[in-house]
Amino acid sequence: MKAVAMPTVSRVAVCGGTHGNELAGVYLVRERLKRRADGTEPVSVVTVMSNPRAVQLCVRYVETDLNRCFTRATLSAPVSETSPYEMIRSQELNALLGPKGSAQAVDLLCDLHNTTANTGLCLITYSDCDWICLHICKHLQREMASTPVRYVHFDIPLNEAYSLDSVGKHGFAMEIGPQPHSVVRSVIFSAMQEGVQLMMDWICQFNSGTLFEGGWVDVYTMVKNIDYPRDSETHVITAAVHPNLQDRDFCLLHPGDPMFLSFSGETLRYKGKEALYPFFINEGAYYEKGIALSLARKRRVEIPSVLVNKH
């Protein structure tokens, strides 16, 4: 692949507390806001607490999930005092960091999240050919010795992309687990801090003219979600994720493998025809969304060398 020239990544946003109870990002944003910039940084970074009311109450959201409010439809819908808090807030964030899809949007938006699932560090994004995001992933994989780093892709067109990271010209959610919601674990905080620092290092090096060699990145593309078995009348769940699957994010799931263990002791197995990679296994916030786990296909994506184009 030929080297690709890309524009400077001059404006970066680091956002935390998009979900108010995902605490590593909350404390990282607080820490960054304490150490105010002195104007000598090579990259302009804006640090934002996305959902301050939810952070105050230590809940995921106050009225509606903020990280589902960034579709074009929601961003352009008329708001009034009676609109859900998060809808009003998403439009504020779009004005601050976007507008989504325009030339004024920040160059890169990094949105910090935690999950109860054993995912390690994931960069979650809507593109499998965003060379900036893919190179940042490669850099983190190279430099983070003790944390698995993976690239997760949701194949959704930009207009329908619903999360905050879709506001930037480039963007991703930096998701780290496992951590219970409303808890901050020191090693998870450190991993997130390291991930953000390495991202900033890459951007500085890139902007200074470093050529980053191409290569290959494993990309996990989301295929489908699987819900819990539920009682047909009450809709209450009747099984938990099976012990053989629990904590095995990104380990290949084969047809016939155990998926759920009912509360009365029966094993339910994966009935799909294709072996796929499970992730977000037993994420606490997804019970209400009807998701026990997500399944992805893995493929090797070739990425070109990249170099900054200063013009």
Partner: protein, 320 residues
């Protein structure tokens, strides 16, 4: 000797009925699903499904529906005599109203009508394995149940934590019954049900029913020593003096080390800016409830306990 005589066989009344309570905190899910499963079993197999009469209770149904710890106030602080006898008005917190309902159902607390045993099911984000929490160190029934569970359960560590409240001050649900204890299993995030944690909790409930049945049937349970942990005090996070927000997290060397020894000089906290805070006290103690999510708002990073050996007598049911 007098001591040997005192520790000779003790006759105690049979336990006619027990209650298994789940969802006292609506987002501690193992108990919610254990109660759900027990109610399904009763529906399928009838009242004789267990060898003794068991009442199953979903303590805080509104909090369970919303998957929150509580709606207005922590239910497990609403069972003091004062709260149970306070007049209910339109502005009473939901949990106070519900606590009085539960007292009518399972109590009245302190009366002879109170149910014999309450087993209250809880989860914690702390790495506490199976911890049996007792409000008193002098109830032989609950201590024998603890000893039995410790013998029979080998998958996880089984520990006994004694809070040693004067009976008049006890404010938790299990203080309503004649004998009561909390079954606390962790680590599990709130709002999540893990199969491995559910299985442990179910096994502990089944073994408790098993013990009561054996006891009521005349089995002699030998006395002996039970190792317990007695709560001494709580330690809060370092906080910003103005905003009260945390400035540090539990240190990686303390995280998940519930019930290990904490000695002077051991690290406690790692601040978000990288500084270590150490334990400076002389007394070596055992930390537990390390990094429990629900305790941030109560100003508790962890609690400290002293190991205490209790000697319990042999017991046998008193036959009429």
């Amino acid at each position: 000797t007098i001591r040997e005589k005192a520790m000779a066989l003790l006759f105690l009344p049979a336990l006619a009925r027990m209650a298994v309570c789940g969802g006292t905190h609506g987002n501690e899910l193992s108990g919610v699903y254990v109660v759900q499963e027990m109610e399904r079993q009763r529906k399928e197999k009838g009242e004789g499904v267990w060898p003794i009469p068991v009442t199953t209770v979903l303590s805080n149904p509104r909090a369970v529906k919303e998957c929150r710890r509580y709606i207005d106030t922590d239910m497990n602080r609403c069972f003091s005599r004062d709260t149970l006898s306070s007049p209910i008005t339109d502005s009473s917190p939901y949990e106070v109203r519900r606590a009085q309902e539960l007292n009518n159902l399972l109590g009245l607390k302190g009366s002879t009508d109170a149910i014999d045993l309450i087993c209250d099911l809880h989860n914690t984000t702390s790495n506490m394995g199976l911890t049996l929490i007792l409000c008193t160190s002098s109830d032989w029934v609950t201590l024998h149940i603890c000893k039995y569970l410790q013998t029979k359960i080998t998958k996880v560590p089984v520990r006994v934590l004694v809070l040693d409240f004067p009976i008049s001050d006890a404010y938790s649900l299990e203080s309503v019954s004649k004998h009561g204890f909390t079954l606390e299993v962790g680590p599990q995030p709130h709002g999540v049900v893990r199969a491995d944690i559910y299985i442990i909790m179910k096994e502990a409930v089944d073994l408790t029913i098993d013990w009561i049945h054996k006891f009521n049937s005349g089995t002699v349970f030998e006395g002996g020593d039970v190792e317990t942990y007695m709560l001494i005090k709580s330690v809060d996070y370092p906080r910003d003096p103005e905003t009260r927000t945390l400035t540090a997290a539990i240190h990686p060397q303390l995280q998940d080390k519930d019930f290990c020894l904490l000695k002077r000089g051991d690290p406690l906290f790692l601040s978000f800016s990288g500084e270590t805070v150490n334990y400076e006290e002389e007394e070596t103690l055992h930390p537990f409830f390390i990094n429990e999510a629900a305790y941030y708002e109560k100003g508790i990073a962890f609690q400290l306990a002293k190991k205490m050996m209790l000697t319990i007598p042999a017991v046998r049911v008193q036959k009429d």
